[in-house]
Amino acid sequence: MNPVVAKLNRENLKSEKETSFDIGDNVRVHCKIKEGGKERIQIFAGYVIARDGVGNTETFTVRRISHGVGVEKVFPVHSPFIEKLEVQNSSYVRRAKLYFLRDRKGKKSRLRERIKARK
């Protein structure tokens, strides 16, 4: 890649701390939404089921069940329109993409919680 383009790509990256969440984490994404000239914060909460790409183009997918219907939303990891990302808890998962959750309903669609070692 051209060094000038690479420098542009590094420009607005978020810190490691802000982007260090894992697959299977139960997260609350606070995203800014513009409505009729006003800005407000909307929270989208659910499991992170995938992370795709690297660098400034990296995205993650959050899946939640809303009114009985599965909803997935893809967010850019380094988007300035993500105000905050809270990790509620992590899960014990064995794969990088949790697409199998799409076929699961009810109690089966839960993930086993991972107890993190105390630092």
């Binding site: 890649m1 000038v4 850019p76």
Partner: protein, 208 residues
């Protein structure tokens, strides 16, 4: 000034004001020294010749060196002519930068597309080709190229296999997403012709 000479550096993505990701091409445009002014009296038309990409004096032919010396600028690898805006005054030796553009205007970009070699009609002219299955033998063939005894010849301009790409192409009405004046960078929405590192001409849009 209506345009600049630049170099395509590559593509990336940025966030716009509404938080949407947009794909942009990064072009390093200018600064371009004014090599020669063409005037109505001498040349029959008004234009300005700009240069781009400095090079060693030893690589330039003597006649060209004289031309650069006359303008008082370092020798340039690429030259191109541009029209001036009405009432604009420039002199030989001046440097033209990205300040001639503003963000959110539309641009036309001229470049040389990537060479694709000898290609068939499916890739070169977007023809449908024949069927791949059920015993098709005309999978990616040309097919019929005309009638029989009348007119007994193939029409001029009939699309056929041949050399594709490496041709000068203008892409019109591309939005200028952002200007980085300090680095002489233009971030143009969408793609532009040519490989990374190739020289492009960036002009204010003709039709907007």
């Amino acid at each position: 000034m209506q345009g600049l000479i630049g170099k395509k550096l590559g593509m990336t993505q940025i966030f716009d004001k509404d938080g949407a990701r947009i794909a942009v091409t990064v072009v390093e445009a200018g600064p371009c020294p004014v090599i020669q002014k063409k005037t109505k009296d001498v040349d029959g038309y008004e234009a300005v010749q700009l240069g781009f990409d400095e090079m060693k004096e030893s690589r330039v032919t003597k006649p060209m060196l004289g031309k650069f010396k006359k303008a008082g600028v370092a020798p340039c690898r690429f030259l191109a002519e541009f029209k001036m805006d009405e009432g604009e005054e420039v002199n030989e030796g001046d440097s033209v930068t990205t300040s001639i553009f503003e963000a959110d205007i539309f641009l036309d970009v001229v470049g040389v597309t990537k060479g694709r070699g000898f290609q068939g009609v499916v890739k070169r002219h977007n023809m449908a080709g024949g069927r791949m299955t059920h015993g098709g033998h005309s999978k990616r063939r040309v097919g019929s190229i005309g009638q029989c005894s009348y007119p007994a010849r193939v029409a001029k301009g009939q699309r056929m296999p041949g050399h594709m790409g490496a041709s000068r192409v203008s892409q019109q009405n591309l939005k200028l997403a952002e200007i980085r004046a300090e680095d002489n960078l233009l971030l143009i929405k969408g793609s532009i012709p040519g490989a990374n590192g190739s020289v492009v001409i960036v002009k204010k849009a003709l039709k907007k």
